[in-house]
Symmetry: C2
Amino acid sequence: MGTPVAPEHPVSFAPPGSFANTLKSDLKETFFPDDPFHQFKNEKPARRLTKAIQYFIPIFEWLPNYNFKLFRYDLLAGLTITSLAIPQGISYAKLADIPSIIGLYSSFVPPLIYAVFGNSKHIAVGTVAACSLLLQSTISEVASPKDDPILYLHLIFTATFITGIFQTALGFLRLGILVDFLSHSTITGFMGGTAIIIFLQQLKGFFGLKHFTTKTDVISVMHAIFQNRKEWRWESLVVGVTFLLFLQVTRYVSKKNPKLFWVSAIAPMVTVVVGCLFAYLVHADKHGIQTVGDLKKGINPPSIQFLNFESKYLPTVLKAGIITGVIALAEGIAIGRSFAIMKNEQVDGNKEMIAFGLMNIVGSFTSCYLTTGPFSKTAVNFSAGCKTAMSNVVMAVSMGLTLLFLAHLFGYTPLVALSAIIMSAMLGLIKYEEAYHLYKVDKFDFVICMAAFLGVAFISMEVGLMFSVGLALVRALLYVARPATCKLGKLPNSTVYRDIEQYQDSANIPGILLLQLGSPIYFANSTYIRERILRWIREEQAISDSEGNILEHLLLDLTGVTSIDMTGIETLVELRKTLQVNDIQMAIINPRIKVMEKMITSKFIDVIGKQSVFLSVNDAIEACRFSLRKSKQNNDTTEGPVAV
Amino acid sequence: MGTPVAPEHPVSFAPPGSFANTLKSDLKETFFPDDPFHQFKNEKPARRLTKAIQYFIPIFEWLPNYNFKLFRYDLLAGLTITSLAIPQGISYAKLADIPSIIGLYSSFVPPLIYAVFGNSKHIAVGTVAACSLLLQSTISEVASPKDDPILYLHLIFTATFITGIFQTALGFLRLGILVDFLSHSTITGFMGGTAIIIFLQQLKGFFGLKHFTTKTDVISVMHAIFQNRKEWRWESLVVGVTFLLFLQVTRYVSKKNPKLFWVSAIAPMVTVVVGCLFAYLVHADKHGIQTVGDLKKGINPPSIQFLNFESKYLPTVLKAGIITGVIALAEGIAIGRSFAIMKNEQVDGNKEMIAFGLMNIVGSFTSCYLTTGPFSKTAVNFSAGCKTAMSNVVMAVSMGLTLLFLAHLFGYTPLVALSAIIMSAMLGLIKYEEAYHLYKVDKFDFVICMAAFLGVAFISMEVGLMFSVGLALVRALLYVARPATCKLGKLPNSTVYRDIEQYQDSANIPGILLLQLGSPIYFANSTYIRERILRWIREEQAISDSEGNILEHLLLDLTGVTSIDMTGIETLVELRKTLQVNDIQMAIINPRIKVMEKMITSKFIDVIGKQSVFLSVNDAIEACRFSLRKSKQNNDTTEGPVAV
């Protein structure tokens, strides 16, 4: 404190860099913001190769340092997630209307692939409810799971393959930016809506219905349940409610005491085992309680020969593959990142995309369907103390053993037990508190969230998703189309200038209007900016008149303007013309490097003259004060409000 | 100069305003940025009513003060534009494949409507080439102008009606913002591309072809011309080239000497008159030179009974109406604004939309097709010295007289003369220099422009337009998704901190990393911002290490951040967590009012503590210096580079 104000530093009018350099740095900022190659600099070729292999195939990075102590943790975590993978695999496969065994296959091969290529330490690979239902509702448009289950299943494999190719391509093209456009609010709403419709779908199992709708929206589902009242079975309902209560109680226990996380983690497995025993002992199917039915022994058979690219199915399969691919990525990457942050680690989104993509490509060759890093399983993996992706290997091995020796036993699982497991999982996905928090903090975010929620619940999953993403994009464009401008005033006893709305004790500067512009200035907002500035001037002139001053200077603080285009520059030229007619001088303050470059190339600087460009607000104010002609001269340069 | 640095001013932590107030002010900024009602404030009710009428029907504003002196100018301008309106009306109607007389009708009713409701003084109403061709290519998809000319014409009227409704609705809903998204680059490219294809289409008339393609792209048109080589007529070609040369010479004369603007303005009329005489005298149609043919005497017959809303045509008609409506608005508003700026006047885009809309609605009832404020006619009107919209009235009256008494004479006009008029007009619309300027100043703008140009020329007008607008939107989203961040350094001999890349003599601050963020922080860029900041920290740590310092503080200057959403705030929280683990303190500087409000509501301020929020960079630096523990203490607070 106590430094004298320094003399003016000259404004930099350095000529812009070459186009090639600018393009290179722009592309780098757009696609490689994390500078992934920084670690390869200044390394010897051999070391660089090792590093590159480690970079692209992360298992080579952590496996050499792996030891038995870490393995103990991963073993425990791996076994815990296996106990979750079996019931979830069977349940979600039911949701996708494919044979239950496919759900188990999907926890065998994909986790092995992820362990090699994935760079999150906490993700547990598995199938997810939302994507299972979305696949079912999309693919069943062209192939009926009832009438032609073979074709239907093959199209599911094909969609998984498309997802894999799409995800890998996004990763290689460094297009993680696309996933960024799925906002947290959209995902919250989408998950909540999906949870509701999946929950309601399970009522089919609860009531033991044989007829049901293929639609997913709330109204159709409720209608189907009440229309088929005659099929309701109380036996099924009793068993279901019992299981659901059991699962919810274990969830409550784990929530109250985080150390008991394993209680809720193994509860689904307990449900399945108890359900199987119960079904076996009481011959449940004779009492209206349906079971899963035959499960073949043996690990994944190849399915590469089943991929079906017939042109009549291709558009639907592409749609299903790409939409589920985006959702699966958004869920998997978001979750991987959240847990990495807790441990202060980094997850590279583009590498994760490649890992997920490869896992789905190989999955589609080996009788698996869409997998990602689901929230519930990953959370259990994290709580169980996993240290590396080895826990996925443990899960895969246990699942392989299960498939070889135990699979057939799960054939006795009552469908109603699976319904209870799904319902319990879904109840955990509806985040009332988060929605309420959004409502409190940001109404637009809340609307985006509700658009996804209501759209999914009452229309369809795609519509809800697109509606919500559309709103989010409109918001993004509105940010750009209507940038904030504010008038700055001088804070008392300082040389600091701040928004007069925010700092109400800041003082007007007689004869000078100082505006701070938002960013950027370009075609979509240039008309707005010009009209808004003219309005500021009109309002300022009214104030000046009432004080006997005359507005002589307009100062535009461009500190917040990160970019400008041709239309933006033309707007400034036009604005200056309009002002000149009214005898107001225009000057600009602190144009940033990109803006300055464009102003130089377009000769704007030559038009307004270098003397109208200032480095700081203070410099500009001093220069203007010096040239004020008609207003009351204000020589009080040291401090204090000059007029209010 | 010479003021001591002022003592710290406290940061304002004022609680946010009520939701209703915020919403109201946001809506006002979005839809009423020009504050159109400011003139009604503080007025008596009677005066307010008068003002309101004058506001919505501008003729009441200027007509009471109208006098004969002004009329002299408007009369001259009105007659000049009539001489342009007749040949252009006939030509563009041919382009739209409708009877030529419709083109003349369209310069009778619409200008009268515009004179009442329009608020630009310079716009001359008329039909435009691009929209005429676009209407033709769209409507001919469902109705053939050859086989069913009546239906085709009725659909053109219907599309005009839709355009009118659409434009009026946009105006009332204050959605001028939509037109803002058609950038100058897009319009330049679109106009150039359209000019090329319209120019090539005229070769049909030049070569006297009877068979031609209905497609508009360059390749199909060139193919059609060469395929029908047998039909080529040299007579037609000679006459055409002669007229085109004449028109280009007059254009050159007017360009060289702006006072002779009337030479090029009346040249088309001269061409038509000479053409008629020539055709009449030599019986041109017997020599392979086709003429316009019968033109009925009399003014516009009603056409409201012909509007056709049959569902099989409706989608196409809606598409045609809306796309041409947007293009016509973009052209009309942009041109009205450009001329208003020259005269230092304002044009209200939303009011213009209503005026254009009403003009097209009434036009569609009275046998007119799509009209707007075309560039060429408006420029002539302006050069001819028009003072008010009265010049449109003069044009309408002259056109009415022409229709009543002279129309049939124009039936002798050779088609090749019309082709020459169109070609000459089109040559003026290809702005090589503008494209080159874009290329020099802004490569992305150039790409947007070329996308429209090449898309229109080689694919179709809609595709070109959408492709270009799509690119412009991607650019807008990229601005948002990849905001600029920069590291600030201290300028020598000052207390000013600026981008170290821009001001290369600015100095590092030991132990402190000062970053300036772009705007806004929200879901689409939060991941980027976090990764980019972590990269800045990594780079800074490398520099600090080499200097024996330790990075202890991260200061984020939020001056440029106009907005933040929930995801953005969560990102800052996560960032802070990551930093704490690395023993780096995070502080924020000068959050603006909207950002501060959200930080308070979301409890972010409570999390980081009010002591971590600073009003200015200087305050923050001083506070941090005080708490630096491990770095070399830097007591040199007065000036100079401290380390580089």
